[in-house]
């Protein structure tokens, strides 16, 4: 292929189902952790992926790298279906697609030295595992090169996360899935890692899928943001647009739950407090999965599965109470509009 597709990664109707074996409590159940996701990730961008715990973010991230096989659907990299590649070609692609994990404590082998951890992908992909190369990588992520023989437990959380980033970078990837890379870190260290990731992106033209439940961090690093709820993408827009004008009731509730570090604003702020917990993914609500917690739900919401529709240019949302002509749910509720045709 000669032309370079604009989308580095695209997902077509990807589903991942986990089934548990029959147990004491009854026959086997299955969870649709990812339930028909179609998504494009553009070359050089950071796509943020947000949503509550258990909604399927990590599963989607792993499916993109095919660390988890999708039950159905296609994952395209550079226009090629990853499932159809020959082993040798797949090996080459593996190198280009890397991951940074949430937990800097359990994702590094405690018995290996920093040098061995960072050197591993260099060996695997025949990139020349010289000590000098490893130390250059250490410096790139802000680790002292003298620490090459230290083991993970001799580092702080932030430093361990830097080792994880250096390991991902060692393969010289073009795409990195960062699964909650800062959740386990202190606020002060979070800023260091976010700034580092942005700098590396600029220097190396990286593309990121940045998974997080911290909407403030995502706001800061992402170009576009996808909001996930029980296996489905429910809203997607440019980051600035999404935070300025969230359309979905779920997204609005998420946004309004973020505490603002200013007591004067924080105390007057209007908040949408959701009722109840996230429903069980084993038995998701019918129709719109969110209808059981939605302050604006009407009868149709429990029957009709909303499609992801472009409501404003580049801003898609899945809710039957909004449409391109009537994008704002508050106004639609006030003027008594019911279900809109999508």
């Amino acid at each position: 292929m000669n032309s370079v597709p604009e989308n580095l990664i695209s997902l077509e109707d990807v589903r991942v189902e986990y089934s548990s074996r029959p147990s004491l409590f009854g026959s086997g159940q299955s969870v649709r952790a990812v339930d028909g996701v179609s998504l494009e990730i553009k070359r050089g961008e950071t796509l943020g992926l947000v949503g509550e715990s258990g909604c399927g973010k990590s599963t989607l991230g792993r499916a993109v790298l095919r660390l988890t096989e999708p039950t159905s659907g296609r994952v395209m990299h550079d226009g090629d279906d990853l499932a159809s590649l020959q082993p040798e070609e797949m090996r080459r692609r593996r190198r280009q697609l890397q991951m940074i994990f949430q937990d800097p404590y359990s994702s590094l082998n405690p018995r290996m030295t920093t040098g061995q951890i960072i050197g591993e992908p260099l060996k695997t992909f025949d990139l020349g595992a010289s000590k000098d190369r490893v130390q250059t990588l250490m410096e790139t992520v802000g680790l002292d090169r003298r620490f090459i023989d230290r083991r993970p437990r001799e580092f702080s959380g932030g430093q361990r996360q830097r080792i994880g980033i250096a390991r991902a970078l060692a393969a010289e990837p073009e795409f990195i899935v960062a699964d909650e890379p800062i959740s386990a870190l202190d606020v002060s260290i979070q800023a260091q890692i976010l700034n580092l990731m942005r700098r590396l992106q600029k220097e190396n033209g990286l593309t990121y899928l940045f998974i997080s439940h911290d909407l403030r961090a995502v706001r800061h690093i992402a170009d576009r943001v996808a909001v996930m709820y029980l296996g489905r993408i429910v809203e997607l827009a440019d980051a600035k647009e999404l935070y300025r004008d969230p359309l979905m009731p779920y997204t609005r509730a998420l946004m309004s739950s973020i505490p603002v570090a200013d007591p004067v604003i924080e105390r007057k702020r209007e908040r949408i407090i959701l009722r109840g917990d996230v429903p069980s993914p084993f038995d998701p609500p019918s129709g719109c999965h969110f209808h059981t917690r939605c302050p604006f739900a009407i009868d149709e919401c429990s029957r009709i599965e909303p499609r992801l529709v472009e409501i404003k240019p580049g801003h898609t949302a899945a809710c039957i109470r909004i449409s391109p002509g009537h994008p704002h749910i508050g106004q639609n509720v006030a003027s008594g509009l019911g279900a809109l045709t999508q």
């Binding site: 260290i189 800061h220 570090a261 007591p263």
Partner: protein
């Protein structure tokens, strides 16, 4: 000041641990007052001494010294029996990880009833009714049928509600909540914080809320303590602290928190380096090595406790200057 409005008065609270690496000064000379109905927030990075402070206040750490005057009586001078009588009844605690303080194998009803039988002398039937009432209070739907479930059958948000129900079942005068929402999603966090705020306001409970999220404090706290390396680096009313901090460490924390309305595409402010090893604190200011403002004096001498305005203290050689500069 009306002294009988003060429920808790802490002076020189210090907890040092002897370890193989040396003495860990986990909590060093912490002092503050808390009035009835007031919420005090404690914020700081991991390892700064927040949890050890709260455990020391409950007298759960034998090494701790200093005065903890609770409603006129020094908890650190009470007999173990007397402490047991107030712990869980007049002062109660909610932990970060509900699974570590709930017994996964005991029914919720049993765990709730244990407390009220012990402290309020209720019989089995009364304790059960009280437990249902508490679960309803914390917003657990269908409380009567939930009463006999086990903690592991519940979601994280639900367990945290059970913890709150347990902590509040004897209507304590002081509630210590150590990172009560850190393990939860933002939406559930908002529910839980609202719940704690509403219930404690209703009962005029004093609250010590520990968190590393400045946003959470902004919404909940009347006054704030910022801890670093076991010491109180700054203490002020919440409004004053956010508007006019007089401490470089607090300012660093505030600046490195990304804002939600922040439309800048530049880098976030980052505090360089990491907190020092608690067993090997430097001679001067423990923050000096990371501080933009540090001068020779900071590396040589421990920072003084500077009283910048009524109820606002900062531990910094340059506190007064920073405070004056922050005026707008």
């Amino acid at each position: 000041m009306n002294s009988d409005a003060t429920i808790l008065s802490v002076r020189g609270l210090t907890t040092h641990f002897q370890t193989a690496e040396g003495v860990v000064k986990a909590v060093d000379d912490v002092s503050f007052d808390l009035k009835r109905g007031e919420t005090l927030g404690i914020v700081g990075e991991s390892g700064s001494g927040k949890s050890v402070t709260s455990l020391s206040l409950m007298r759960l750490v034998p090494q701790s010294t200093g005065e903890i005057v609770f409603d006129g009586v020094d908890v650190n001078r009470m007999s173990e029996n007397d402490v047991r009588r107030i712990r869980g009844r007049r002062m109660a605690m909610i932990f970060q990880d509900p699974m570590s303080s709930l017994n996964p194998y005991l029914k919720v009803s049993t765990q709730l009833a244990e407390i009220t039988k012990l402290h309020l002398g209720l019989d089995q039937k009364q304790a059960r009714e009280h437990a249902i009432k508490m679960l309803e209070t914390v917003g657990i739907p269908d409380a009567a049928s939930r009463l006999d479930s086990h903690p592991h059958e519940m979601s994280g948000g639900m367990r945290q509600r059970v913890m709150i129900a347990m902590a509040l079942s004897c209507e304590p005068e002081l509630l210590i909540a150590d990172e009560p929402t850190t393990a939860l999603d933002v939406t559930i966090q908002a529910q839980i914080l609202e719940l704690i705020g509403d219930l404690t306001a209703k009962m005029n409970t004093s609250v010590i809320l520990i968190t590393h999220d400045l946003g959470v404090l902004a919404g909940m706290a009347d006054k704030v303590i910022v801890m670093y390396a076991g010491r109180v680096f700054e203490q002020a009313s919440a409004v004053e602290l956010f508007a006019r901090s007089a401490n470089p460490y607090t300012l660093g924390l505030l600046k490195s928190t990304p804002g939600i309305a922040d439309d800048t595409d530049g880098d976030l402010y980052q505090i360089p380096g990491m907190p020092p090893d608690a067993a090997n604190l430097p001679r001067g200011c423990p923050f000096a090595e990371r501080c933009e403002r540090a001068a020779d004096i900071c590396r040589d001498q421990p920072p003084p406790f500077v009283d910048v305005s009524e109820g606002h203290f900062s531990l910094c050689h340059f506190a007064s200057e920073i405070y004056a500069e922050a005026k707008h």
